[in-house]
Symmetry: C2
């Protein structure tokens, strides 16, 4: 059965290994300093969705932060497809993690680095119900590397999600240090406001997401500053990320949102 | 010789292990999400400096973020002293890392967690020359968990240090999202300004540092907002952290600072 074997193997720097015994050195900077990047991709059952978009983002982020991919993108794709062999016909989450590898203590970037590239796979079940969101205290650091890139330094988002859960919601709405609406803890936000379809700007702390980017490119969504007051007036909202795709929002800060199916489906169609 | 064996062993969840083969599971949240805390302490050659201060901060940070220490503080102290047996008579950096351990994918905090507690030791040489600092673009996220606690999510500080190094300085001065001066990449800053001795406020992104706390308590330093314009007028400055203690600053943003020895030594004396 697929459910037994899915996730039983991982791929680390070119080798397929047994997941239960897979380890990394304690000196890896991903572990010691959150100094790494990752991508989480959807395995549809037959292919990796938006693979090129993900690897382009990973490579570009790496260029900006001084991380090099240790092998050609084609080899990474082959590795992911080999991992996904256990998940034929079922959804799965494929994660690629890239770090600068092991290094002595201290923040200074090791030169040369010995990068670690790891791929894992996990079962994924698409959520069916609309999501409830709650604006939390912890903010998003607009303009910082931790917000502009998908790095391993996730503590603020972990705390934000926890604050939302303790407040009875499924996920957080994080404002940014600019005072505008930024995103959820691991998804972007799109709202409908007086007929306009808007998503927070990258300069307000939104991660340049894959699905978000596709919707912007398709012209279905526009980038904008969104104030908390505007959020309180929206009459439709969805979360987007590579795993969930487009997920309707049912509640924001205790207020029911009547997100229209036809609007959600137009976005889902645009991603096909 | 001490230099051969120092750092050859690590301590993980109660076991002393060979460092060269020490590993952690790939599912550890410290690695996957920067979801952990750490302390770096000075081994003086005979004892751990400020041990109680460090462990109090670690335990208090854990309480606020929902991390539990998996064993009594006395056991941790014994482990660190056992590690330091290789460093009798020499300085060393002792690091304790605490994570929530392994967990399935996603940001949600695992309940119950299986915490990972690790201690490592590395040679440390006290720097002798005054440090040069440069104000960098990357800011500190004032008020966020990533700034208030010493977490593994360090990417912004890594980038800040790299920006300073590329600008020809030893270390960065990070401003905070409040626009005030916050700290260096892994040290706090104390300045002398028109006869007043000031250090940035925690609400401006300063980490509640151990040495910083001791100097505040001794009444030698006062907490204050510090603007970049005030920084440009200071006539003395030091960096502080648990490893370096108090280190004179020689240059800020290209301007030579004549930090007086008598002032630096008064702070060093207060720490004794």
């Amino acid at each position: 059965m697929t459910s037994v074997t899915l996730g039983s193997r991982v791929w680390i720097n070119g080798a397929l290994l047994d997941a239960s015994s897979a380890v990394i050195p304690i000196t890896d900077r991903g572990f010691t300093l959150g100094d790494g990047l990752f991508e989480t991709m959807l395995w549809t059952g037959t292919k990796i969705r938006f693979f090129a978009d993900h690897l382009t983002r990973l490579a570009n982020s790496g260029d900006e932060l001084g991380f090099a991919l240790p092998m050609p993108i084609e080899d990474i794709e082959r590795a992911l497809i080999a991992l996904a062999a256990d998940a034929q016909g079922t959804l799965a989450a494929l994660r690629v993690t890239l770090t600068r590898g092991g290094a002595p203590r201290g923040l200074a970037i090791p030169v040369p680095a010995s990068p670690l590239l790891m791929a894992t796979i996990a079962p994924f079940v698409k959520p069916v119900h609309p999501v409830s969101l709650k604006t939390v205290v912890t903010t998003r650091h607009a303009g910082a590397p931790s917000a502009r890139f998908k790095t391993l330094s996730y503590i603020d988002n972990i705390v934000a999600l926890d604050q939302a859960r303790k407040g009875g919601a499924h996920d957080a709405i994080m404002l940014s240090t600019t005072g505008h609406v930024a995103c959820a803890s691991s998804a972007n936000l799109v709202i409908r406001l007086k007929g306009r379809i808007l998503t927070p700007a990258v300069e307000d702390g939104a991660l340049p997401g894959i699905v978000r980017g596709r919707l912007l490119k398709a012209g279905l969504v526009g980038e904008s500053h969104i104030t908390p007051a505007q959020l309180a007036l929206c009459d439709g909202a969805v979360l987007t990320n590579a795993l969930i795709g487009v997920r309707p929002v049912g509640i924001i800060d205790g207020r029911s949102i009547m997100t229209e199916n036809v609007w959600v489906e137009a976005m889902i169609d645009a991603l096909k």
